[in-house]
Subunit: 204 residues, 2 copies
C-alpha cells in the first residue's frame, strides 16, 4: 500500500438521488435591505439532528523536551486528488460531545491517548459556499505515559492515514516545504501555522 | 439597512439544472490499495480554467503605535444563516494573480490600499468534502498614508459588509467574545487566532 498510488480515475455529475453524504440546497433569504434573494449552498447529510456541529479538528500536542510537536496526518483526499496534510479530525457521532469525539478520533487515527485542554468556538469552513463547520479541540499528550509508548492506530479498512509530527514553532516553514514536495495543505494546518508565525515575527 | 435583519426564509433542494455557482461531483478513484472506489465532492463552478485556486483570503494588518490590528468583516452568510466574522476575501478573476486579486478586493471591500508582503501555500477549506481552496495573502497597510485617511468601500449592491479591526495579539479572546455575542467565526479567523494564542502561551 502507498498513498502515492491513489488517483482519481474519472469525475462526473452526481445526481441528487444517488448522493448519500452531501447535497446542494437553494436558500431563500431576506437580505439586509429586506429584499428576497436566493443563494446556493452545499451541505453534509450526516450532521446529527441533536448537534449544530459536523465534526472536530484536533490540535494534539506532544510535549517533548525540545518543545511542543503537533500531530499531523498525510491522507489521500479524492475531492482534491492529492495527499493532504491535516490535523486528526472526524465527524461527531450522535450522542457524543465534541470533546469525546476528539479523544476517540485521536486514539483511532493515531493511537495516542490525550487530555482535552481547550475547546474552540465553532469555526465555519467556507460560509459563503457551504455550512460545514467544526470545533478545534486542543489535546495534550504526555509521551512518557505507558499508553503512549507504542501508539497503534485502529483504522477502518477504507482509511489510509500516515501519522507524523512537526515542531509547532516552525510549522509555517514546514507547510511551505510540504507543498513544495507535492502535498496539499489543509486550511486548519496552514492558518494555525500562519498565526504562530505572525506571533513570532511581530513579537506579539 | 441592518445585517441583523437578514434571515433565511426557506431551504429546499437545488436541482442540478438550476445550479449556477456550485455542483456535486461523483469522483471515481483508485485507493492506496489499488481498489476502485467512489467519493462525493462539492465544487464551485467559477474557478477560472487558467487557475488552480478559487480565491484569496487577505490578512491585512494596520500597523498602529499600539501594535498590529487585523482588518475583519461582519457579513451575513445565507448558507449558515448567521453574520460571520471573516477576513476580507474574494474569488480570483480570470487573468488576475492571487496578489492582484487581494489588493483589488481589499480596496473594494474596505477602502484600504496596502502592499503585499507574503503569499501562503494553497490552503484547502475542507478536502474531505469539497475542492474549494484559497491562498492567504498578507497585506501591510500604512495608516499614515493619504489614501488610507478616509477609506471608503466600493460594494456591489448585493454586498453587505461591515468592516472593523481587532488587535492581532488578542484575537483569540475576541473570537470567543464575538461568538458569545451571536456571531459565527470563520475558520481562517479562528485558526489564525489559535496559532497566535499557542505561540504566546507556549512562548514559541
Amino acid at each position: 500500500m502507498s498513498a502515492s498510488e491513489a488517483k482519481v480515475l474519472s469525475i462526473g455529475p452526481l445526481p441528487e438521488n444517488e448522493a448519500a453524504w452531501i447535497k446542494l440546497s437553494k436558500v431563500t433569504y431576506r437580505d439586509p435591505n429586506g429584499q428576497t434573494r436566493t443563494w446556493e449552498s452545499a451541505e453534509r447529510r450526516t450532521r446529527p439532528t441533536t448537534s449544530d456541529v459536523d465534526g472536530v479538528g484536533i490540535v494534539a500536542l506532544l510535549h517533548t523536551p525540545a518543545g511542543p510537536e503537533i500531530i499531523l496526518q498525510k491522507q489521500y483526499r479524492p475531492p482534491i486528488d492529492r495527499i493532504s496534510i491535516e490535523v486528526p479530525a472526524g465527524l461527531i457521532d450522535a450522542g457524543e460531545t465534541a470533546e469525546q469525539a476528539a479523544v476517540r478520533e485521536l486514539r483511532e487515527e493515531t493511537g495516542y491517548v490525550g487530555v482535552v485542554t481547550e475547546t474552540s468556538p465553532i469555526m465555519f469552513n467556507d460560509p459563503g459556499f457551504c455550512n460545514t463547520n467544526l470545533r478545534m479541540i486542543h489535546v495534550s499528550i504526555d509521551p512518557s505515559l505507558p499508553e503512549n509508548q507504542n501508539p497503534q492506530p485502529q483504522l477502518e479498512e477504507n482509511e489510509f492515514i500516515e501519522v507524523f509530527t512537526a515542531p509547532l514553532a516552525t510549522l509555517w516553514d514546514e507547510c511551505k516545504k510540504l507543498e513544495a514536495e507535492g502535498y496539499a495543505i489543509d486550511a486548519r494546518v496552514g492558518t494555525l501555522a500562519e498565526g504562530v508565525e505572525f506571533a513570532k515575527t511581530l513579537k506579539l
